[in-house]
Subunit: 176 residues, 2 copies
Amino acid sequence: MEIWVLRLGHRPHRDQRITTHVMLAARAFGAHGALYTGVRDESMERSVHGVVENWGGSFKVRYVESWRKALRDWRERGGRVIHLTMYGLPVQRVIDEIRADPSPKLIVVGGAKVPGELYGEADWNVAVTSQPHSEVSALAVFLHMLYEGRELELEFEGAKLRVIPQERGKRVERLA
Amino acid sequence: MEIWVLRLGHRPHRDQRITTHVMLAARAFGAHGALYTGVRDESMERSVHGVVENWGGSFKVRYVESWRKALRDWRERGGRVIHLTMYGLPVQRVIDEIRADPSPKLIVVGGAKVPGELYGEADWNVAVTSQPHSEVSALAVFLHMLYEGRELELEFEGAKLRVIPQERGKRVERLA
């Protein structure tokens, strides 16, 4: 199943670190790429692509002007849309249904202002707890549940660096 | 099992949002409280306590000057220490052992600079993927795996606000 993330309403200074963490969590937990709206931020894009360059895989980040158009394009390709929001249905009740649907999925995570219409546009509004926390944690736990933990075993093709897990300390292997 | 989080090296301006997200993810995924080192930040503490005030539970945030002393105090109470780091052992290999140990757990998550000695001080160095992502996602997925998803059903005592999950739109009940 193809999985992309759409991050809404990025503001370069204020959101740079949170958006970067959203993107890196998306990559680490198995999404194929991420779109974002708001203000284009080449420095954030570079920092995510720098991680891909060193740690492998083919995760892409792309700026899009309009979330409406992004959703329309996604649907034209046969994809469906999941909106992560604390007001949605509990993830533990809907994750099996989402996993059983083979269409490409776009997972939308909020930024500053989530437009009310998005709740109507999404195929699923999903809550990872009904408590306020973070788009970073909501996305990671959602992907972990979607992939049933298999994402923890992912290997990233073409990596220059790879961690050799240790009980104590750090060990990194240089591959290229 | 009592669970606290220790966030290292908080810097008020630069880290305010990430630290707030760490704290809120800790609370939402069932930790009992969080300590932090670095620079004291009353505005961050207020924003976390404001969430507790509205959304319930008894999650506490406390500033501590020294991570070494925090670890020493924790051990004196019979607690053990988990350090989340991408260089540690894969979470999927150690989570059952950690869950089977009934002692209180302190989960340490990095900030700007993680002191090398911490790797030696921790009882477990645990990697939630060996990829770079975010302390927010690492902590949330770790807690989700530790509690085996039961944290998604948590009720927070004394909440003034409670979400009534909806397929579309937002519904919040005011309780007090």
